[in-house]
Symmetry: C2
Subunit: 420 residues, 2 copies
């Protein structure tokens, strides 16, 4: 393998997480170690920034700010849900890469983003332009194949399990056998996030909150759930429910008020909690239902983030650079769990982008208890290591301080481009 000299481009894509910036920090830190890398650029708003030639000079950012990225939520480079559609878009990407001698492209994102990275890589190969493309996994949805878990997932479930435990303190204090509290969490088609709330239960306390977890994988049976709620109310005086936004009934219809679709044709949900509240209030006379919907809060809650998650996101960034320098391309970094049953360990590997693109890892059906509303020890064994350790966020004047990049622009050298 010959040494490939040139510039790095980093991009972020899709929905932000608490730790997607930690991956940027890992990439920048590692890239600085290699002399074959000349400049380290970031693209503003993912592929949109490439099309528009909106690049920034990451090496000129202060070390403090790059370090602060390790605990900063959102996506410091900006992100997008723009999907490269036409051949012309891909040609433009390569044109920009060539103009700025981009030889290393690191794209941090989920399924759709890895698909985009894969297509860019293939076009470069077709054109004989030497480019190394490595994807870095990112999604709170935890649904990427080939990787044990995804950076972003540990933090969202740590925050939600914390929240479930806290709201339960409140509801237990208020409950007189008539209080149902619902927390509606993200999860369009998979229950990974809702399932994570199960970690709020203490070991050997199956009756701890959350009492019912309603997953998209288990079709909603109104009569059964109402019976479950009645039983919990009788036993505990209150009932704590976590519901995934993508809850569906036996006919596959969403148990939610409104369904819209986003740019990728995915349904934009919201309202499963409110819809459920209405059903419960209509079925159990005198019951009070309180709905909380953390929405974007859950994927931005770095103040309650998992240190394990942030460390792994950083590691994935570093390893992406190492792999590219070593001559790898067209791969995504994966997280591999050590097989020592006693102590959790995590290493990284690589998987072909084509395997990741548009693939989906399902929540194993055998990790759901027979009751359909709780998770078994297999899930807990899987998820518990991911929430260990507390991210240390510096505070100033009572509030967390997050990174703000200077975003020094790289001079444009190409004519403008019309995005769709």
């Amino acid at each position: 393998m010959s040494e490939l000299v040139g510039n790095v481009l980093v991009g972020q894509s899709g929905g932000p997480t608490s730790v997607i910036n930690a991956s940027v920090a890992g990439i920048v830190a590692e890239a600085l170690n290699h002399e074959c890398i000349e400049e380290i650029y970031g693209t503003l708003n993912g592929v949109l920034g490439i099309l528009n030639e909106d690049l920034i000079d990451l090496a000129s950012e202060s070390q403090q700010q790059i370090r602060a990225l390790k605990h900063t939520p959102g996506a410091a480079l900006g992100t997008c849900r723009y999907k490269l559609k036409k051949q012309q878009d891909f040609e433009r990407v390569l044109e920009v890469f060539k103009a700025h001698n981009i030889r290393y492209f690191f794209y941090i994102g989920g399924n759709d983003s890895q698909d985009t990275a894969d297509k860019i890589s293939k076009l470069a190969q077709e054109q004989g332009y030497e480019l190394r493309v490595i994807g870095v996994p990112k999604t709170i949805d935890n649904d990427l194949p080939a990787t044990d878990h995804c950076p972003g997932y540990g933090s969202v479930i740590k925050y939600l399990a914390t929240t479930v435990r806290e709201v339960a303190c409140d509801s237990e204090a208020m409950g007189q056998g008539d209080l149902v509290s619902i927390i509606e969490v993200m999860g369009r088609s998979a229950g990974w996030i809702a399932a994570g709330a199960a970690l709020a239960k203490r070991r050997d306390h199956p009756h701890d909150p959350p009492h019912l977890i309603l997953l998209p994988e288990v079709s909603f049976n109104q009569e059964k759930i109402i019976e479950d709620i009645r039983r919990v109310l009788k036993r505990e005086k209150f009932c704590s429910i976590v519901v995934a936004e993508g809850l569906v009934d036996a006919d596959g219809n969403y148990v939610a008020a409104n369904a819209q679709t986003d740019a990728f044709g995915h349904a934009q949900l919201g309202g499963a909690g409110d819809a459920l509240a209405e059903i419960i209030e209509g079925s159990i006379p005198g019951v009070k239902v309180r709905v909380a919907k953390p929405g974007l809060m859950q994927r931005a809650a770095a103040h309650a983030g998992s240190k394990t998650d942030a460390d792994e996101a950083y590691l994935a960034g570093q390893k992406a650079v190492e792999a590219a320098i070593a001559g790898q391309t067209d791969k995504m970094v994966t997280l591999i769990r050590g097989d020592d049953g006693n102590q959790y360990t995590c290493e990284t590997g690589l998987a072909p982008l084509s395997e990741i693109a548009n693939g989906v890892k399902k929540l194993p059906a055998e990790w759901v208890n027979e009751d359909g509303v709780s998770m078994n020890y297999q899930f807990v064994r899987y998820a518990q290591p991911l929430i260990q350790g507390e991210t240390l966020v510096p505070h100033d004047n009572g509030l967390p301080v997050y990174a703000r990049l200077d975003k020094v622009r790289v001079d444009k050298v190409l004519p403008g481009y019309e995005t769709a």
Copy 2:
């Protein structure tokens, strides 16, 4: 003043907060210092527990658990919204007090609770039963008169300002001039909580999120707000809105979907965020609106609580005991801000319960900027000291650990009582 020998009873009432348990810890710790106090009891679920003679022995709890109350959300003794209505209820309360030689009654709560405490105290005086009643302020609503601020308020606004800052990181990354994110917060009739989100702005950065704060005190003018949003979207590419659940229009009608009433005749709100989202989507073509509704999460978020707030809640509990021992009765502990302009200090005082009961402290109109959607430096100067310092919550296995009381029951000595 003669030394009054007898037992203590502590109760919690109304909606829980992140720090209402810290006041219990302060009361128990201080009560142990005084030999005239023989037993320290707690009532389960406030006045309901008194009527039902459901008392627990707080002195038998472990010191660890009492200390853990300082950072535990919810209301460890249980709370209630039950309102003593008939004379018979009040008679029963005194009967229970006499049966258990309760000579010191500490009631931690808001307006309604202090009203109840006042009535109990007056009846005891009428009957010549020596009883010292001291209220301890508690409410995230921050609307009690006579006190500079209320324990519970600092923590809720610290959590919400943190959340606004984090969700803004997310929305800024996603925004393309078309993203509005709404956080609906508690605040039935006053904007104290919504106003607190203003602390998310850095000093001298008036354009920082939250961009618009919609208060119940400023009637909702749809055209004006839509114009405000358009302007922010143009300038910032995204718009961060905090809306109080009690937002009303010029006719005094709630800008929310459904309005119900609770046991006290207060409207139970929810839906101002969703209603606002609908208005925005209908008014600005192509805009995407994301609504988060923390609901009960905000008043239970001890993991992001204010140390100042928890310390003051504890102090208020201690001072209640000191005052009662010193012969005071029929008073509520108040928080008094030091008049040294440079350094925030807080002492306690006492105010007559009758002054507190059903009184309301309004958010000063002169603390709202002329634009009607932001707070000025007077508010910031008032609120900023209340969020200083981070509550240290111990974690185990990745999650916060909260107190769990043993709740050893005090033997009942009276016949049962039928509550309404």
